[in-house]
Amino acid sequence: MLKAFFLFFLFLNVLYAQSYSFTEVRYSDAIGKSMQLNGEITFKKEGLEIKYPKSQRVLNYDGEEISFFEDKKLIELPEEQISNMMHYFDILKLLHDGNEDELKSRFTIKELDGKTFLSPTGALKYYIEHIELLKINNTLKYIKLFLKNNDTITINITNEIS
């Protein structure tokens, strides 16, 4: 769910790209283990699409509704999960449009040792401790999301597809 929220940072920094490959490393403090997912994300005129080719899973957001497909079969998601994802996807879309004012209105931004640290100021602060971004030569290398429950999610950008 939260994954959708931080994926948009990819696009903030590479505005003209549309599709990317990414590796997501998710650390769960509850089980003391990490899991890894590989996928592709495409930013469309209205909404976005995330594909996990290995597991044949596709997540589509058209700006109005979210559809989740597994093996090309439409899977119904719980309403609560859908509304939360929509909320984050909307933020994603707005920020993809380059709305830096919005970003500043929701986060306190600090730069340290070439890394960018974003601390949420609104309701997000109850779930997210902070977000860390690393850019090398103006290219985004990773995003780390530090959650309040000590879980971390790291997105490593592998390459731009188109």
Binding site: I31, E102, G122, A123
Partner: protein, 703 residues
């Protein structure tokens, strides 16, 4: 004796100066139209923030629109009379803290007793999701089995686009709570100007607040009344001078009229607790009717005669006095106050014109032109005109329509109305506000919950705060549940499944803490336009309901729909007006019978025909409002005098001249209001103009 009139004015002004601390003038126009109870409830509603809300719409949902919302929000937050500005759905810090503090009680709790096996099964599912689910699933170490669920309350009236508040499909919406009391015109005007200067910079931005009407309409009202007052004064002075051709008489007349107004104003404003400024203004206009007495005296050379009393003028005065005397008891504050004022001003004018003017040394009237013969031309009998009047009245009764909406009397502010409609049309909210009251804060919440269960849809503090009984039931349920045993099960099972040691060691400890059922500060919900107010005796809050009629069946609920309140009080007003009007007509009929005897029909026509013609014209072109009815009373007052003068006149040509000139002055005083763009004033002008025409027809054609 020569300066007695001026001396009287000086004495009155001196008394006025000495009594200045005892003069009470109210500017609350609402109290003139709505019932006392309604005014009190609206006052409470104002304390609760109702009508202090301002809405600003920014067209569209583009990036630019959003940028504008942020910029406007920032500017508004810096203004002095702004309580808060809301453009997103994010709960306030206070509400977030409230949810956190009362979470165990506010959240729904599944008090089902779980077995070890069931706990292990659920934890296994959770573990699997952590390792294999595409979607990230966060684990709540305090409530891993999700026994508690809290649905955050959303505003029942606010739509949204993403996290931002939206005005339907029109664009983004900014809600602003002001702290402008309805009576503080200066502050309202300042805030209005500040908001206008902010919004005009952003194209496609529309702002609306109920107090905008007060600011814009009073400015329009002021400029309208100003030029009408100037026009009226110029026309009056010009007419008096041209007619009387006697500068001394003109000055003495103006001094008398002014003294009459001061005399009546002194009585009215010191005897009434809150004599209204509008009644004062109308009362002063009504004083101009007394010019009839002077004109009749002057054109009949009464001041040179040895007579002490002119019976016709006396009868006219007494009949008018009786009419206003009865109307001063009507339970409609506006008409009662105006009638009370008229009683004193007309009495003073009558006494001065009758008993002081003969000693002022005014030159007698000498006719400069020959008056046309009274008998010239074709005439219509009084009986025929009486029947014509009855036909016109029947026609009016058939087409009679009441305009009960008091707001229609105000200046028709089309641009502000369209702004208001934009918000109404796009908000698509079917909920209407009601006031809920109770003797204590706790019982207020209980009543709000009773209301919540009585209507199908509502939004109030009950949407956020539990009533005492429910809170205690929930507290007891938490107390009875064995969380210690559940935690033991979780800790055992979590290790078996593969969770880290001690990860769930604090599970459900938050629910074991002692829960207290005390009410929070109810004003933290102001961002949802909800709060509580106490006048020291009772507690009040606003609730939004889908069915105000049904809600009102509860004894502690009052509908505060201003239109409904006015409709109710206006209906009552019309009933009273018809009752008192009928009584006045009967009294007038009896008094006319005494004063004119056989010529009763002739005199009665001077009341009936102007009434009938005015009503027929008004009902043909629209609905009758309260100001039309009030003006018809003035018409009756004028008609009585003319009817008596004409019926008993032994010098009809002189009487006709006096009446014609009197009609001209009445038109100058009231008729010019027909040029006003304010419906209330225009209505008066319309009736008086038609009335003057009708009386002119009568003196020309009735035999």
């Amino acid at each position: 004796m020569k300066y007695l009139n001026h001396l009287l004015l000086l004495v009155l002004l001196l008394i006025g100066f000495l009594l200045k601390d005892h003069i009470h003038i109210s500017t609350n126009l609402l109290s003139l139209f709505a019932s006392k109870e309604s005014v009190e409830k609206l006052s409470i509603a104002n304390h609760l923030g109702y009508s202090k809300e301002m809405l600003i719409a920014v067209k569209g949902f583009s990036k630019e629109s959003k940028k504008n919302v942020r910029a406007i929000t920032k500017k508004l937050q810096s203004l002095q009379d702004i309580e808060f500005v809301q453009s997103t759905l994010t709960p306030s810090q206070d509400i977030a803290e409230y949810y956190k503090k009362y979470y165990p009680l506010l959240a729904s709790f599944q008090a089902k007793k779980l077995t070890k096996k069931e706990v292990q099964k659920q934890l296994q599912t959770l573990y699997d999701k952590q390792l294999h689910s595409v979607f990230y699933t966060s684990i709540d170490k305090n409530d891993p089995l999700k026994l508690f669920h809290l649905e955050l309350t959303k505003s029942a009236t606010l739509k949204h686009k993403g996290n931002m508040i939206a005005l339907g499909e029109y664009g983004y919406l900014i809600r602003v709570q002001t702290n402008i009391p309805p009576s503080e015109m200066g502050r309202a005007k300042r805030l209005y100007d500040e908001v206008q200067s902010i919004t005009k910079v952003f194209p496609g931005t529309v702002a609306f607040a109920p107090f905008f009407y007060t600011v814009e309409n009073s400015a329009a009202f002021k400029s309208d009344v100003q030029w009408i007052a100037i026009l009226s004064s110029i026309v009056l002075i010009l007419i008096y001078f041209l007619l009387l051709r006697n500068i001394k008489l003109l000055i003495e007349t103006l001094v008398t009229l002014f003294s009459s107004m001061v005399f009546a104003a002194l009585f009215s404003t010191t005897l009434f607790d809150n004599f209204n400024v509008l009644s004062l203004a109308f009362g002063m206009s009504l004083t101009a009717v007394s010019i009839d007495y002077l004109l009749h005296y002057h054109f009949h050379n009464f001041y040179e005669s040895k007579k002490r009393v002119d019976k016709n003028v006396l009868y006219g005065f007494l009949t008018t006095l009786s009419a206003f005397g009865i109307f001063s008891f009507i339970p409609i504050p506006l008409i009662a106050q105006i009638s009370f004022f008229a009683l004193f001003s007309l009495s003073y004018a009558y006494v001065v014109f009758s008993f002081v003017f003969p000693y002022l040394g005014i030159k007698s009237y000498t006719r400069t032109t020959e008056v046309q013969s009274v008998s010239s031309g074709r005439k219509i009998s009084a009986l025929s005109l009486f029947f014509i009047s009855l036909i016109l009245l029947s026609y009016s009764a058939f087409h009679f329509k009441l305009d009960a909406n008091i707001r229609n009397l105000d200046y028709q502010n089309i641009s502000l109305k369209s702004a208001e409609n934009l918000f109404k049309h796009n908000s698509q909210s079917s909920l209407v506000p009601v006031i809920v009251e109770a003797p204590s804060k706790e019982s207020l919440i209980e009543n709000l919950h009773i209301l919540k269960h009585s209507v199908s849809k509502s939004f109030s503090l009950a949407s956020f705060v539990l009533d005492k009984k429910t809170c205690e039931q929930k507290r007891d349920a938490l107390k009875e549940y064995n969380f210690t045993q559940l935690r033991d099960y979780i800790e055992d099972a979590s290790l078996k499944v593969g969770f880290r040691d001690d990860y769930f060691k604090d599970a459900y400890k938050f629910a074991e803490k002692k829960q207290v059922c005390i009410l929070p500060n109810l004003n933290i919900f102001q961002t949802f336009s909800l709060s509580a107010y106490t006048d020291g005796k009772r507690w009040y809050s606003i609730a939004l309901v889908d069915d105000a009629q049904k809600a009102q069946t509860l004894p502690f609920v009052t509908d505060i729909n201003v239109k409904a309140m006015f409709d109710k009080s206006t209906q009552q007003m019309y009933k009273n007006l018809i009752l008192f009007g009928s009584l006045v007509l009967v009294i007038i009929f009896v008094l006319l019978l005494v004063s004119v005897r056989k010529k009763i029909l002739y005199a009665l026509n001077y009341i009936l025909f102007p009434l009938a013609l005015s009503m027929a014209v008004l009902t043909t072109f629209g609905a009758i409002n309260i100001m039309h009815l009030f003006s018809l009373i003035i018409l009756v007052a004028i008609g009585i005098d003319y009817g008596i003068y004409m019926s008993n006149s032994n010098k009809p040509t002189h009487t006709m001249i006096a009446i014609k000139y009197s009609l001209l002055s009445t038109f100058a005083a009231f008729g010019v209001l027909i040029f006003s763009s304010i419906v209330a004033l225009n209505s008066i002008g319309m009736v008086i103009t038609i009335g003057c025409v009708a009386i002119y027809i009568l003196i020309k054609v009735m035999r």
